[in-house]
């Protein structure tokens, strides 16, 4: 079981993330100049791009957790896997929502089935499906093994989302680099990216602890004796 000190560390991470996100968003919304063609609409970039990076990071972490669980059978990796997939799905849904809000005034449509958007939709439904799978499996061991295997298979889509704008003609633009973005826009982007990183890692740590508590109940012997797994 996690100690109270680790919980405080997670909460501190969440708090730091919120502070950074507020500071970065204030900078992006009020201090940074508008983009010369898109104007104020471009300011959504300060959450959209950091959300994309962090969704990808959360799913990379989920992939690592899945491998670690299957190799060690240590329950803590299953708890982290569940938390990381939930975070990856939430961030991916936020990503699509922000993207739609940006797309309407620039592209002229809320959504279109271009390679980047389609592969991102696959990401949402594949990892969302794993959460559904977990909800249906009552046996903790089966639930953990199935969802870890499914997570590894679904992860094939994550690099495809990244490369989709390089491999295929798409409506979505390719990745920007510091050279293609004015330096006036750099800091709000970075601060928000780091803010969201602290926010989700803190939340995932807290969520994994909840998972561990539930698992302790599930693995406890029916006579109310001491739990078999205390981790």
């Amino acid at each position: 079981m996690r100690t109270a000190g680790q919980s405080r560390l997670s909460l501190a991470s969440v708090a730091l993330g919120v502070v950074l996100l507020v500071a970065g968003s204030y900078w992006g919304l009020a201090r940074a100049p508008p983009e010369i063609f898109m104007g104020d609409v471009q300011r959504i970039m300060y959450v959209h791009v950091p959300t994309a990076w962090n969704a990808m990071l959360a799913l990379v972490f989920a992939f690592v957790c899945a491998l670690m669980f299957l190799f060690t059978n240590d329950w803590k990796w299953d708890n982290r896997l569940e938390a990381a997939i939930e975070m990856g799905v939430v961030l991916s849904i936020l990503l699509c929502t922000q993207g739609a809000i940006w797309a309407k005034p620039t592209w002229g449509v809320w959504w279109d089935w271009d390679p980047r958007l389609t592969t991102t939709a696959v990401q949402v439904f594949a990892f969302g499906g794993i959460l559904a799978l977990r909800a249906f499996a009552a046996d903790p061991m089966k639930r953990a093994v199935w969802s870890a295997v499914a997570c590894i298979v679904a992860f094939a889509d994550v690099p495809i989302v990244y490369f989709s704008v390089k491999w295929w003609n798409s409506l979505h633009q390719a990745q920007s680099t510091p050279d293609t973005v004015s330096s006036a826009f750099h800091w709000p982007l970075r601060i928000n990216a780091i803010g969201i990183l602290f926010l989700w890692t803190g939340l995932v740590a807290l969520r994994a602890r909840l998972g561990a508590l539930r698992l302790r109940g599930e693995l406890a012997p029916p006579d109310g004796g001491p739990p078999l797994v205390t981790r």
Partner: protein, 158 residues
């Protein structure tokens, strides 16, 4: 659970991990190197559309490229907006209906959904604007209008 059972279970789940990695890796390789992209085309460039010739006539397709500078002719009211789409080598004349997105201008990337006519004009009924990966502040000294206005990153990559 006794120790031998746990060890056996762990070695079984390790095989699951390797199997899942193999499936994911195979899927990734199949999509990335097998040329599946040739069959999954979001839009055609003017050159590809020209090369398709009569095959392109009649079907609903997407044409992607850049609005050729100076080619925009606003039509009667909101309909029949005319412009040329180029990829630097070939050119396709487009007659589009509907209101263009706000960012529509010379040299911007566009994706037009519509049909090719026998006369060689592309009849667009859905006009999308795409923007590139460049974001510029107004006072930025490094603004290079030429590169700034080159749009449709998908074409630019090629």
């Amino acid at each position: 659970m006794s120790a031998p059972t746990a060890t056996a279970r762990r070695s079984r789940t390790r095989w699951f991990a390797l199997g899942a990695v193999a499936v994911a890796g195979a899927a990734f390789v199949a999509i990335s190197v097998s040329g599946i992209g040739d069959n999954l085309v979001y839009y055609w460039g003017p050159k590809e559309l020209r090369a398709a010739g009569d095959k392109a006539v009649g079907a609903t397709i997407r044409l992607g490229g850049q609005v050729a500078p100076g080619s925009i002719k606003p039509g009667d009211g909101v309909s029949n907006l005319e412009f040329d789409v180029t990829d630097g080598t070939a050119l396709v004349h487009v007659v589009a209906t509907g209101v263009p997105p706000q960012l529509f201008r010379d040299r911007i990337g566009v994706v037009v959904e519509g049909t090719m006519t026998r006369g060689g004009t592309f009849e667009g009924h859905r006009l999308l604007v795409s923007h590139d990966n460049k974001y510029r502040a107004p006072a930025d000294k490094n603004v290079d209008i030429k590169t700034l206005m080159r749009s449709t990153a998908g074409l630019e990559e090629r």
